[in-house]
Protein backbone atom coordinates (compact mmCIF):
# COMPACT_ATOMS: atom_id res chain seq x y z
CA UNK A 1 0.00 0.00 0.00
CA UNK A 2 2.60 2.44 1.11
CA UNK A 3 4.69 2.25 -2.04
CA UNK A 4 1.79 2.27 -4.46
CA UNK A 5 2.48 5.72 -5.80
CA UNK A 6 6.05 5.59 -7.06
CA UNK A 7 7.14 6.69 -10.45
CA UNK A 8 10.47 7.04 -12.11
CA UNK A 9 13.08 8.68 -9.99
CA UNK A 10 14.64 11.99 -10.94
CA UNK A 11 16.82 13.41 -12.43
CA UNK A 12 15.79 13.16 -16.06
CA UNK A 13 19.20 13.20 -17.71
CA UNK A 14 20.41 10.09 -15.91
CA UNK A 15 17.25 8.26 -16.87
CA UNK A 16 17.84 8.98 -20.50
CA UNK A 17 21.35 7.58 -20.22
CA UNK A 18 20.20 4.34 -18.57
CA UNK A 19 17.48 4.02 -21.23
CA UNK A 20 20.13 4.22 -23.88
CA UNK A 21 22.33 1.73 -22.08
CA UNK A 22 19.39 -0.63 -21.64
CA UNK A 23 18.68 -0.85 -25.33
CA UNK A 24 22.37 -1.49 -25.93
CA UNK A 25 22.43 -4.27 -23.33
CA UNK A 26 19.25 -5.76 -24.73
CA UNK A 27 20.41 -5.78 -28.34
CA UNK A 28 22.56 -8.98 -28.32
CA UNK A 29 19.53 -11.06 -27.26
CA UNK A 30 17.32 -9.39 -29.83
CA UNK A 31 19.90 -9.90 -32.57
CA UNK A 32 20.63 -13.55 -31.71
CA UNK A 33 16.93 -14.35 -31.79
CA UNK A 34 16.43 -12.38 -34.99
CA UNK A 35 19.21 -14.20 -36.85
CA UNK A 36 18.78 -17.69 -35.49
CA UNK A 37 15.06 -17.77 -34.83
CA UNK A 38 12.92 -15.13 -36.55
CA UNK A 39 14.79 -15.12 -39.85
CA UNK A 40 14.99 -18.95 -40.15
CA UNK A 41 11.30 -19.23 -39.30
CA UNK A 42 10.50 -16.73 -42.04
CA UNK A 43 12.68 -18.58 -44.53
CA UNK A 44 11.03 -21.86 -43.59
CA UNK A 45 7.56 -20.42 -44.13
CA UNK A 46 8.68 -19.01 -47.48
CA UNK A 47 10.24 -22.36 -48.40
CA UNK A 48 6.94 -24.13 -47.81
CA UNK A 49 5.60 -22.28 -50.88
CA UNK A 50 8.55 -23.19 -53.10
CA UNK A 51 8.74 -25.91 -55.72
CA UNK A 52 11.18 -28.63 -54.55
CA UNK A 53 13.06 -28.58 -57.87
CA UNK A 54 12.84 -25.06 -59.23
CA UNK A 55 12.06 -23.18 -56.00
CA UNK A 56 9.41 -21.15 -57.87
CA UNK A 57 6.33 -20.19 -55.85
CA UNK A 58 3.66 -22.86 -55.66
CA UNK A 59 0.98 -24.33 -53.40
CA UNK A 60 1.82 -27.88 -54.51
CA UNK A 61 3.51 -28.79 -51.25
CA UNK A 62 0.38 -28.03 -49.25
CA UNK A 63 -1.69 -29.83 -51.87
CA UNK A 64 0.54 -32.87 -51.57
CA UNK A 65 0.37 -32.77 -47.78
CA UNK A 66 -3.42 -32.83 -47.87
CA UNK A 67 -3.80 -35.44 -50.60
CA UNK A 68 -0.96 -37.96 -50.48
CA UNK A 69 -2.63 -39.78 -47.58
CA UNK A 70 0.61 -40.58 -45.79
CA UNK A 71 1.16 -37.08 -44.48
CA UNK A 72 -2.35 -36.53 -43.16
CA UNK A 73 -2.22 -40.00 -41.62
CA UNK A 74 0.99 -38.98 -39.86
CA UNK A 75 -0.67 -35.78 -38.70
CA UNK A 76 -3.61 -37.73 -37.26
CA UNK A 77 -1.32 -40.36 -35.71
CA UNK A 78 0.54 -37.54 -33.97
CA UNK A 79 -2.67 -36.01 -32.68
CA UNK A 80 -4.09 -39.33 -31.46
CA UNK A 81 -0.82 -40.32 -29.82
CA UNK A 82 -0.57 -36.93 -28.08
CA UNK A 83 -4.15 -37.15 -26.88
CA UNK A 84 -3.56 -40.65 -25.49
CA UNK A 85 -0.42 -39.43 -23.72
CA UNK A 86 -2.34 -36.47 -22.30
CA UNK A 87 -5.04 -38.76 -20.91
CA UNK A 88 -2.55 -41.27 -19.49
CA UNK A 89 -0.38 -38.59 -17.90
CA UNK A 90 -3.34 -36.94 -16.24
CA UNK A 91 -4.90 -40.20 -15.05
CA UNK A 92 -1.63 -41.61 -13.71
CA UNK A 93 -0.46 -38.29 -12.35
CA UNK A 94 -3.62 -37.48 -10.42
CA UNK A 95 -3.21 -39.85 -7.45
CA UNK A 96 0.45 -38.85 -7.07
CA UNK A 97 -0.41 -35.15 -7.33
CA UNK A 98 -3.21 -35.53 -4.80
CA UNK A 99 -0.88 -37.27 -2.40
CA UNK A 100 1.83 -34.62 -2.87
CA UNK A 101 -0.65 -31.80 -2.40
CA UNK A 102 -2.23 -33.17 0.77
CA UNK A 103 0.34 -35.30 2.56
CA UNK A 104 2.08 -33.83 5.56
CA UNK A 105 4.20 -36.92 6.28
CA UNK A 106 7.86 -37.68 5.69
CA UNK A 107 6.84 -39.80 2.71
CA UNK A 108 5.91 -36.68 0.80
CA UNK A 109 9.57 -35.77 0.19
CA UNK A 110 10.34 -39.32 -0.90
CA UNK A 111 7.43 -39.48 -3.34
CA UNK A 112 8.29 -36.01 -4.63
CA UNK A 113 11.89 -37.01 -5.33
CA UNK A 114 10.80 -40.28 -6.96
CA UNK A 115 8.19 -38.56 -9.11
CA UNK A 116 10.59 -35.93 -10.41
CA UNK A 117 13.79 -38.01 -10.59
CA UNK A 118 13.28 -39.07 -14.23
CA UNK A 119 13.61 -35.43 -15.26
CA UNK A 120 17.27 -35.52 -14.32
CA UNK A 121 17.91 -38.64 -16.33
CA UNK A 122 17.31 -37.21 -19.77
CA UNK A 123 15.10 -38.62 -22.48
CA UNK A 124 17.60 -41.05 -23.98
CA UNK A 125 18.22 -42.95 -20.79
CA UNK A 126 14.52 -43.39 -20.11
CA UNK A 127 13.75 -44.38 -23.66
CA UNK A 128 16.60 -46.86 -23.57
CA UNK A 129 15.08 -48.28 -20.39
CA UNK A 130 11.75 -48.79 -22.13
CA UNK A 131 13.50 -50.37 -25.11
CA UNK A 132 15.06 -52.93 -22.79
CA UNK A 133 11.71 -53.56 -21.15
CA UNK A 134 9.45 -53.67 -24.20
CA UNK A 135 11.69 -55.26 -26.82
CA UNK A 136 10.79 -58.62 -28.37
CA UNK A 137 13.52 -60.21 -26.28
CA UNK A 138 12.99 -57.64 -23.54
CA UNK A 139 12.15 -57.81 -19.87
CA UNK A 140 8.38 -58.23 -20.08
CA UNK A 141 8.40 -60.81 -22.87
CA UNK A 142 11.17 -62.62 -21.07
CA UNK A 143 9.13 -62.88 -17.89
CA UNK A 144 5.97 -63.90 -19.70
CA UNK A 145 7.78 -66.53 -21.73
CA UNK A 146 9.52 -67.88 -18.64
CA UNK A 147 6.20 -68.17 -16.83
CA UNK A 148 4.79 -69.92 -19.90
CA UNK A 149 1.96 -67.41 -20.25
CA UNK A 150 2.78 -66.77 -23.89
CA UNK A 151 4.28 -68.95 -26.59
CA UNK A 152 5.91 -66.24 -28.68
CA UNK A 153 6.97 -62.67 -27.79
CA UNK A 154 4.23 -60.05 -27.75
CA UNK A 155 4.80 -57.13 -30.14
CA UNK A 156 5.33 -54.47 -27.49
CA UNK A 157 7.72 -52.13 -29.26
CA UNK A 158 7.82 -50.23 -32.57
CA UNK A 159 4.14 -49.38 -32.25
CA UNK A 160 1.67 -46.87 -30.78
CA UNK A 161 1.66 -48.66 -27.43
CA UNK A 162 5.40 -48.34 -26.94
CA UNK A 163 5.46 -44.68 -27.94
CA UNK A 164 2.58 -43.79 -25.62
CA UNK A 165 4.23 -45.63 -22.72
CA UNK A 166 7.56 -43.92 -23.36
CA UNK A 167 6.10 -40.44 -23.79
CA UNK A 168 3.82 -40.81 -20.79
CA UNK A 169 6.91 -41.53 -18.78
CA UNK A 170 8.71 -38.51 -20.22
CA UNK A 171 5.85 -36.08 -19.61
CA UNK A 172 4.48 -37.45 -16.33
CA UNK A 173 6.58 -35.27 -13.98
CA UNK A 174 5.29 -32.10 -15.67
CA UNK A 175 1.70 -33.34 -15.43
CA UNK A 176 2.15 -34.17 -11.76
CA UNK A 177 3.56 -30.71 -11.01
CA UNK A 178 0.73 -28.88 -12.71
CA UNK A 179 -1.96 -31.07 -11.09
CA UNK A 180 -0.27 -30.70 -7.70
CA UNK A 181 -0.25 -26.90 -7.91
CA UNK A 182 -3.92 -26.91 -8.80
CA UNK A 183 -4.92 -29.29 -5.98
CA UNK A 184 -2.84 -27.33 -3.48
CA UNK A 185 -4.94 -24.32 -4.38
CA UNK A 186 -8.10 -26.03 -3.12
CA UNK A 187 -8.89 -25.12 0.47
CA UNK A 188 -8.64 -28.41 2.47
CA UNK A 189 -11.49 -27.11 4.65
CA UNK A 190 -13.82 -27.63 1.69
CA UNK A 191 -13.07 -31.34 1.86
CA UNK A 192 -13.59 -31.34 5.63
CA UNK A 193 -16.83 -29.43 5.21
CA UNK A 194 -18.09 -32.01 2.71
CA UNK A 195 -17.11 -34.82 5.07
CA UNK A 196 -18.96 -33.14 7.94
CA UNK A 197 -22.01 -33.00 5.67
CA UNK A 198 -21.81 -36.78 5.33
CA UNK A 199 -19.85 -37.25 2.11
CA UNK A 200 -17.70 -40.37 1.84
CA UNK A 201 -14.05 -40.18 0.74
CA UNK A 202 -15.12 -41.11 -2.78
CA UNK A 203 -17.88 -38.49 -2.88
CA UNK A 204 -15.47 -35.84 -1.62
CA UNK A 205 -13.11 -36.59 -4.50
CA UNK A 206 -15.94 -36.90 -6.99
CA UNK A 207 -17.93 -33.80 -6.03
CA UNK A 208 -15.36 -31.45 -4.48
CA UNK A 209 -11.77 -32.15 -5.50
CA UNK A 210 -12.26 -33.23 -9.11
CA UNK A 211 -14.52 -30.33 -10.15
CA UNK A 212 -12.28 -27.79 -8.46
CA UNK A 213 -9.12 -29.20 -10.02
CA UNK A 214 -10.47 -29.05 -13.57
CA UNK A 215 -8.13 -26.15 -14.41
CA UNK A 216 -5.18 -28.28 -13.30
CA UNK A 217 -6.46 -31.22 -15.34
CA UNK A 218 -6.79 -28.99 -18.39
CA UNK A 219 -3.31 -27.55 -17.99
CA UNK A 220 -1.79 -30.98 -17.40
CA UNK A 221 -3.49 -32.25 -20.59
CA UNK A 222 -2.23 -29.24 -22.53
CA UNK A 223 1.36 -29.61 -21.34
CA UNK A 224 1.29 -33.33 -22.04
CA UNK A 225 -0.22 -32.88 -25.48
CA UNK A 226 2.23 -30.24 -26.63
CA UNK A 227 5.25 -32.06 -25.23
CA UNK A 228 4.17 -35.35 -26.81
CA UNK A 229 3.36 -33.83 -30.20
CA UNK A 230 6.76 -32.18 -30.47
CA UNK A 231 8.83 -35.05 -29.04
CA UNK A 232 11.37 -36.55 -31.36
CA UNK A 233 13.70 -39.04 -29.65
CA UNK A 234 11.07 -41.22 -27.99
CA UNK A 235 8.93 -41.82 -31.09
CA UNK A 236 12.09 -42.28 -33.15
CA UNK A 237 13.42 -45.03 -30.89
CA UNK A 238 10.25 -46.68 -29.60
CA UNK A 239 8.11 -46.17 -32.70
CA UNK A 240 10.77 -46.43 -35.37
CA UNK A 241 9.60 -47.33 -38.83
CA UNK A 242 6.53 -49.05 -37.40
CA UNK A 243 4.99 -45.90 -35.97
CA UNK A 244 5.92 -42.63 -37.62
CA UNK A 245 4.81 -39.27 -36.26
CA UNK A 246 5.23 -35.79 -37.69
CA UNK A 247 8.52 -35.21 -35.85
CA UNK A 248 10.16 -38.32 -37.26
CA UNK A 249 8.63 -37.73 -40.70
CA UNK A 250 10.06 -34.20 -40.77
CA UNK A 251 13.46 -35.62 -39.92
CA UNK A 252 13.17 -38.10 -42.80
CA UNK A 253 12.20 -35.36 -45.24
CA UNK A 254 15.20 -33.27 -44.25
CA UNK A 255 17.91 -35.90 -44.01
CA UNK A 256 16.83 -38.74 -46.35
CA UNK A 257 14.69 -37.14 -49.06
CA UNK A 258 16.32 -33.72 -48.75
CA UNK A 259 12.97 -32.20 -49.65
CA UNK A 260 13.15 -28.82 -47.86
CA UNK A 261 9.81 -27.45 -49.06
CA UNK A 262 7.87 -30.52 -48.00
CA UNK A 263 9.74 -30.71 -44.67
CA UNK A 264 8.75 -27.07 -44.13
CA UNK A 265 5.09 -27.84 -44.79
CA UNK A 266 5.17 -30.69 -42.29
CA UNK A 267 6.94 -28.53 -39.72
CA UNK A 268 4.31 -25.83 -40.23
CA UNK A 269 1.51 -28.38 -39.80
CA UNK A 270 3.07 -29.43 -36.48
CA UNK A 271 3.44 -25.78 -35.46
CA UNK A 272 -0.19 -25.11 -36.36
CA UNK A 273 -1.34 -28.09 -34.28
CA UNK A 274 0.64 -26.80 -31.29
CA UNK A 275 -0.53 -23.23 -31.64
CA UNK A 276 -4.15 -24.34 -31.98
CA UNK A 277 -3.88 -26.37 -28.79
CA UNK A 278 -2.13 -23.56 -26.90
CA UNK A 279 -4.69 -21.06 -28.17
CA UNK A 280 -7.52 -23.29 -26.94
CA UNK A 281 -5.76 -23.41 -23.57
CA UNK A 282 -5.40 -19.65 -23.37
CA UNK A 283 -9.05 -19.19 -24.36
CA UNK A 284 -10.15 -21.65 -21.69
CA UNK A 285 -8.02 -19.97 -19.05
CA UNK A 286 -9.22 -16.43 -19.83
CA UNK A 287 -12.85 -17.57 -19.86
CA UNK A 288 -12.39 -19.28 -16.53
CA UNK A 289 -10.79 -16.12 -15.10
CA UNK A 290 -13.74 -14.10 -16.34
CA UNK A 291 -16.20 -16.53 -14.81
CA UNK A 292 -14.55 -16.62 -11.41
CA UNK A 293 -14.11 -12.85 -11.43
CA UNK A 294 -17.83 -12.52 -12.22
CA UNK A 295 -18.76 -14.89 -9.42
CA UNK A 296 -16.70 -12.82 -6.98
CA UNK A 297 -18.34 -9.65 -8.18
CA UNK A 298 -21.79 -11.05 -7.46
CA UNK A 299 -21.06 -11.59 -3.80
Amino acid sequence: MSSLALDSSPPRTRRRFTGWFSYLALSPSLVVLAIFFALPMGIMIGMSFADPQTLSPTLDNYHRFLTDGLSLAGFCRTAIMSLLVAVCVTALGYPVAYFLARSRTRWRAVVFALALSPELAGVVLRTYGWLIILEDRGFINDVLLYLGLIASPLPLSKNLFAVVVGLTHVVLPFGILSLMTSIQGIDPNLERAAQMLGASRLSVIRFIVLPLSVPGIVSSMLIAFTMAASAYATPALLGGAGFKVLATMIYEQVLFYINWPFASVMAISLLVMMLAISFAGVRYESRRRLRTAGAKGDN
Partner: protein, 267 residues
Protein backbone atom coordinates in the same frame (compact mmCIF):
# COMPACT_ATOMS: atom_id res chain seq x y z
CA UNK B 1 -15.97 -49.38 1.55
CA UNK B 2 -13.73 -46.54 2.70
CA UNK B 3 -11.02 -49.11 3.37
CA UNK B 4 -11.27 -50.51 -0.13
CA UNK B 5 -10.97 -47.03 -1.63
CA UNK B 6 -7.98 -46.15 0.46
CA UNK B 7 -6.27 -49.45 -0.41
CA UNK B 8 -6.97 -48.79 -4.09
CA UNK B 9 -5.53 -45.30 -3.72
CA UNK B 10 -2.30 -46.53 -2.17
CA UNK B 11 -2.02 -49.30 -4.76
CA UNK B 12 -2.41 -46.86 -7.62
CA UNK B 13 0.15 -44.55 -6.05
CA UNK B 14 2.61 -47.41 -5.71
CA UNK B 15 1.94 -48.58 -9.27
CA UNK B 16 2.59 -45.14 -10.72
CA UNK B 17 5.79 -44.75 -8.72
CA UNK B 18 6.90 -48.18 -9.94
CA UNK B 19 6.12 -47.12 -13.50
CA UNK B 20 8.21 -43.97 -13.01
CA UNK B 21 11.24 -45.71 -11.54
CA UNK B 22 11.20 -48.96 -13.51
CA UNK B 23 13.09 -47.84 -16.65
CA UNK B 24 15.72 -46.08 -14.58
CA UNK B 25 16.34 -49.18 -12.49
CA UNK B 26 16.43 -51.35 -15.58
CA UNK B 27 19.09 -49.18 -17.20
CA UNK B 28 21.22 -49.13 -14.08
CA UNK B 29 20.91 -52.91 -13.83
CA UNK B 30 21.73 -53.36 -17.51
CA UNK B 31 24.87 -51.26 -17.16
CA UNK B 32 26.27 -53.88 -14.81
CA UNK B 33 25.03 -56.87 -16.74
CA UNK B 34 27.08 -58.83 -19.30
CA UNK B 35 24.26 -58.76 -21.89
CA UNK B 36 21.75 -56.13 -22.82
CA UNK B 37 18.84 -58.25 -21.76
CA UNK B 38 17.66 -57.81 -18.24
CA UNK B 39 16.16 -60.90 -16.78
CA UNK B 40 15.22 -61.71 -13.28
CA UNK B 41 17.51 -64.68 -13.42
CA UNK B 42 20.70 -63.99 -11.48
CA UNK B 43 23.38 -62.34 -13.53
CA UNK B 44 27.06 -61.74 -13.00
CA UNK B 45 28.19 -58.24 -12.17
CA UNK B 46 30.54 -56.57 -14.56
CA UNK B 47 32.14 -53.18 -14.72
CA UNK B 48 33.43 -53.81 -18.20
CA UNK B 49 31.05 -51.32 -19.86
CA UNK B 50 32.16 -48.48 -17.65
CA UNK B 51 35.74 -49.23 -18.65
CA UNK B 52 34.71 -48.92 -22.30
CA UNK B 53 33.51 -45.40 -21.71
CA UNK B 54 37.02 -44.05 -21.69
CA UNK B 55 37.51 -44.84 -25.37
CA UNK B 56 37.50 -41.94 -27.83
CA UNK B 57 34.27 -43.22 -29.24
CA UNK B 58 32.42 -41.94 -26.14
CA UNK B 59 34.89 -39.44 -24.79
CA UNK B 60 34.90 -37.23 -27.89
CA UNK B 61 31.13 -36.69 -28.09
CA UNK B 62 31.08 -36.19 -24.32
CA UNK B 63 33.70 -33.44 -24.56
CA UNK B 64 31.84 -31.85 -27.48
CA UNK B 65 28.60 -31.83 -25.48
CA UNK B 66 30.41 -30.47 -22.44
CA UNK B 67 32.01 -27.68 -24.48
CA UNK B 68 28.75 -26.73 -26.17
CA UNK B 69 26.72 -26.83 -22.97
CA UNK B 70 29.27 -24.67 -21.15
CA UNK B 71 29.34 -22.02 -23.87
CA UNK B 72 25.53 -22.12 -24.15
CA UNK B 73 25.04 -21.81 -20.39
CA UNK B 74 27.46 -18.88 -20.15
CA UNK B 75 26.11 -17.06 -23.22
CA UNK B 76 22.45 -17.46 -22.46
CA UNK B 77 23.14 -16.64 -18.80
CA UNK B 78 24.76 -13.31 -19.65
CA UNK B 79 22.31 -12.41 -22.43
CA UNK B 80 19.28 -13.51 -20.41
CA UNK B 81 20.42 -11.57 -17.35
CA UNK B 82 20.97 -8.40 -19.39
CA UNK B 83 17.69 -8.76 -21.25
CA UNK B 84 15.59 -9.47 -18.16
CA UNK B 85 17.31 -6.66 -16.26
CA UNK B 86 16.60 -4.12 -18.98
CA UNK B 87 13.00 -5.17 -19.48
CA UNK B 88 11.84 -5.84 -15.92
CA UNK B 89 14.04 -3.59 -13.83
CA UNK B 90 14.57 -0.60 -16.11
CA UNK B 91 10.99 -0.91 -17.42
CA UNK B 92 11.88 0.07 -20.95
CA UNK B 93 9.05 1.45 -23.02
CA UNK B 94 7.51 -1.36 -25.04
CA UNK B 95 8.73 -3.91 -22.55
CA UNK B 96 5.68 -6.14 -23.02
CA UNK B 97 6.33 -6.44 -26.74
CA UNK B 98 10.06 -7.01 -26.19
CA UNK B 99 9.35 -9.71 -23.61
CA UNK B 100 6.92 -11.58 -25.87
CA UNK B 101 9.49 -11.41 -28.64
CA UNK B 102 12.20 -12.81 -26.37
CA UNK B 103 9.90 -15.61 -25.18
CA UNK B 104 8.40 -16.41 -28.58
CA UNK B 105 10.76 -19.34 -29.36
CA UNK B 106 9.13 -21.19 -26.45
CA UNK B 107 5.94 -21.70 -28.44
CA UNK B 108 7.70 -23.32 -31.40
CA UNK B 109 8.50 -27.05 -31.12
CA UNK B 110 12.21 -27.79 -31.10
CA UNK B 111 12.03 -29.99 -34.15
CA UNK B 112 10.50 -27.06 -36.09
CA UNK B 113 13.20 -24.70 -34.86
CA UNK B 114 15.75 -27.31 -35.92
CA UNK B 115 14.37 -27.53 -39.46
CA UNK B 116 14.25 -23.75 -39.73
CA UNK B 117 17.84 -23.31 -38.58
CA UNK B 118 19.34 -26.02 -40.74
CA UNK B 119 17.34 -24.72 -43.71
CA UNK B 120 18.56 -21.19 -43.05
CA UNK B 121 22.19 -22.31 -42.82
CA UNK B 122 22.04 -24.24 -46.08
CA UNK B 123 20.19 -21.39 -47.82
CA UNK B 124 22.93 -18.91 -47.03
CA UNK B 125 25.56 -21.49 -47.91
CA UNK B 126 26.89 -21.86 -44.41
CA UNK B 127 26.89 -25.66 -44.28
CA UNK B 128 30.43 -25.45 -42.97
CA UNK B 129 28.86 -23.86 -39.95
CA UNK B 130 27.24 -27.20 -39.00
CA UNK B 131 28.61 -29.01 -36.00
CA UNK B 132 29.71 -27.11 -32.92
CA UNK B 133 29.07 -23.49 -34.05
CA UNK B 134 25.55 -24.23 -35.33
CA UNK B 135 24.79 -26.32 -32.25
CA UNK B 136 25.83 -23.47 -29.98
CA UNK B 137 23.70 -20.94 -31.86
CA UNK B 138 20.67 -23.22 -31.91
CA UNK B 139 21.01 -24.17 -28.24
CA UNK B 140 21.31 -20.51 -27.25
CA UNK B 141 18.06 -19.81 -29.11
CA UNK B 142 16.53 -22.71 -27.19
CA UNK B 143 17.91 -21.80 -23.75
CA UNK B 144 17.79 -18.00 -23.85
CA UNK B 145 14.00 -17.66 -23.42
CA UNK B 146 14.06 -20.04 -20.44
CA UNK B 147 16.90 -18.15 -18.77
CA UNK B 148 15.29 -14.78 -19.50
CA UNK B 149 12.03 -15.98 -18.00
CA UNK B 150 13.69 -17.36 -14.86
CA UNK B 151 15.73 -14.20 -14.26
CA UNK B 152 12.69 -12.04 -15.02
CA UNK B 153 10.73 -13.95 -12.39
CA UNK B 154 13.34 -13.37 -9.72
CA UNK B 155 13.61 -9.71 -10.73
CA UNK B 156 9.86 -9.37 -10.47
CA UNK B 157 10.02 -10.88 -6.97
CA UNK B 158 12.79 -8.48 -6.00
CA UNK B 159 11.44 -6.07 -3.39
CA UNK B 160 11.89 -2.59 -4.87
CA UNK B 161 12.09 -1.24 -1.32
CA UNK B 162 15.48 -2.92 -0.92
CA UNK B 163 16.70 -0.88 -3.84
CA UNK B 164 15.22 2.28 -2.34
CA UNK B 165 16.72 1.45 1.05
CA UNK B 166 20.17 1.14 -0.52
CA UNK B 167 19.62 4.35 -2.46
CA UNK B 168 18.61 6.42 0.54
CA UNK B 169 21.67 5.04 2.34
CA UNK B 170 23.81 6.63 -0.33
CA UNK B 171 24.36 3.82 -2.84
CA UNK B 172 24.60 4.89 -6.47
CA UNK B 173 23.18 2.81 -9.31
CA UNK B 174 26.20 0.56 -9.89
CA UNK B 175 26.69 0.03 -6.17
CA UNK B 176 23.04 -0.94 -5.79
CA UNK B 177 23.30 -3.42 -8.64
CA UNK B 178 26.47 -4.92 -7.23
CA UNK B 179 25.63 -5.04 -3.53
CA UNK B 180 21.87 -5.54 -3.53
CA UNK B 181 20.31 -6.54 -6.84
CA UNK B 182 22.80 -9.16 -8.05
CA UNK B 183 23.12 -11.02 -4.73
CA UNK B 184 19.33 -11.10 -4.45
CA UNK B 185 18.69 -12.55 -7.92
CA UNK B 186 21.70 -14.85 -7.89
CA UNK B 187 19.66 -18.01 -7.18
CA UNK B 188 17.36 -17.26 -10.12
CA UNK B 189 20.28 -16.61 -12.45
CA UNK B 190 22.11 -19.74 -11.33
CA UNK B 191 19.09 -21.98 -11.79
CA UNK B 192 18.62 -20.46 -15.23
CA UNK B 193 22.24 -21.19 -16.12
CA UNK B 194 22.02 -24.74 -14.76
CA UNK B 195 18.86 -25.32 -16.72
CA UNK B 196 20.49 -23.97 -19.88
CA UNK B 197 23.44 -26.32 -19.35
CA UNK B 198 21.19 -29.35 -18.90
CA UNK B 199 18.89 -28.69 -21.85
CA UNK B 200 21.89 -28.14 -24.06
CA UNK B 201 23.74 -31.19 -22.78
CA UNK B 202 20.71 -33.49 -23.18
CA UNK B 203 19.31 -31.96 -26.35
CA UNK B 204 18.20 -34.16 -29.21
CA UNK B 205 15.49 -32.55 -31.38
CA UNK B 206 17.62 -29.56 -32.42
CA UNK B 207 20.98 -31.26 -32.43
CA UNK B 208 19.78 -34.08 -34.65
CA UNK B 209 19.78 -31.71 -37.65
CA UNK B 210 22.94 -29.85 -36.86
CA UNK B 211 25.61 -32.41 -35.97
CA UNK B 212 28.30 -33.38 -38.42
CA UNK B 213 30.11 -36.71 -38.61
CA UNK B 214 33.02 -36.44 -36.24
CA UNK B 215 31.49 -33.43 -34.51
CA UNK B 216 28.50 -34.96 -32.76
CA UNK B 217 27.06 -34.58 -29.28
CA UNK B 218 26.73 -37.39 -26.78
CA UNK B 219 22.93 -37.86 -26.93
CA UNK B 220 22.96 -37.89 -30.73
CA UNK B 221 25.78 -40.43 -30.80
CA UNK B 222 23.81 -42.55 -28.36
CA UNK B 223 20.53 -42.52 -30.28
CA UNK B 224 22.24 -43.16 -33.59
CA UNK B 225 23.86 -46.18 -32.00
CA UNK B 226 20.64 -47.30 -30.30
CA UNK B 227 18.86 -47.63 -33.63
CA UNK B 228 21.12 -50.56 -34.46
CA UNK B 229 21.92 -52.22 -31.19
CA UNK B 230 21.03 -52.37 -27.53
CA UNK B 231 24.63 -52.90 -26.53
CA UNK B 232 24.88 -52.67 -22.72
CA UNK B 233 27.66 -50.12 -23.09
CA UNK B 234 24.79 -47.75 -23.89
CA UNK B 235 23.43 -48.32 -20.42
CA UNK B 236 26.77 -47.39 -18.95
CA UNK B 237 26.96 -44.26 -21.12
CA UNK B 238 23.50 -43.18 -20.01
CA UNK B 239 24.11 -43.85 -16.32
CA UNK B 240 27.43 -42.02 -16.46
CA UNK B 241 25.86 -39.06 -18.22
CA UNK B 242 23.08 -38.87 -15.64
CA UNK B 243 25.68 -38.99 -12.87
CA UNK B 244 27.49 -36.16 -14.61
CA UNK B 245 24.31 -34.05 -14.70
CA UNK B 246 23.79 -34.70 -11.00
CA UNK B 247 27.32 -33.51 -10.30
CA UNK B 248 26.70 -30.35 -12.32
CA UNK B 249 23.50 -29.61 -10.41
CA UNK B 250 25.30 -30.27 -7.14
CA UNK B 251 28.10 -27.86 -8.10
CA UNK B 252 25.75 -25.05 -9.07
CA UNK B 253 23.78 -25.64 -5.91
CA UNK B 254 27.04 -25.33 -3.96
CA UNK B 255 27.82 -21.92 -5.49
CA UNK B 256 24.53 -20.73 -4.12
CA UNK B 257 21.69 -21.80 -6.32
CA UNK B 258 18.13 -22.91 -5.79
CA UNK B 259 17.89 -24.03 -2.16
CA UNK B 260 19.98 -21.04 -1.08
CA UNK B 261 16.92 -18.94 -1.92
CA UNK B 262 16.86 -16.29 0.72
CA UNK B 263 13.72 -16.40 2.78
CA UNK B 264 12.08 -13.82 4.98
CA UNK B 265 13.83 -10.65 5.91
CA UNK B 266 11.95 -8.36 3.65
CA UNK B 267 8.48 -9.78 3.77
Amino acid sequence: MTRVISILFWLSLAAVLAFITLPLLVVVAASFSPTATVTFQPFEWTFRWYGDLLSNRWLDPFLTSLKIATVVAATSGVLGLLAAYCIVYERLPGSDVLMSYLLSPLSVPQIVKGVAIVLFLSMIGFQGFLGTPALIAAHVVLALPFVTRMVATSLANFDANLDRAAQILGAGKLQRIRHVLLPMIKPGVLSGVTFAFIISFNNIPLSVFLVRPGDSTLPITVINYLEYSLDPVMAAVNVASMAFILVVIFLFEKIGGFSAQIHGGSK
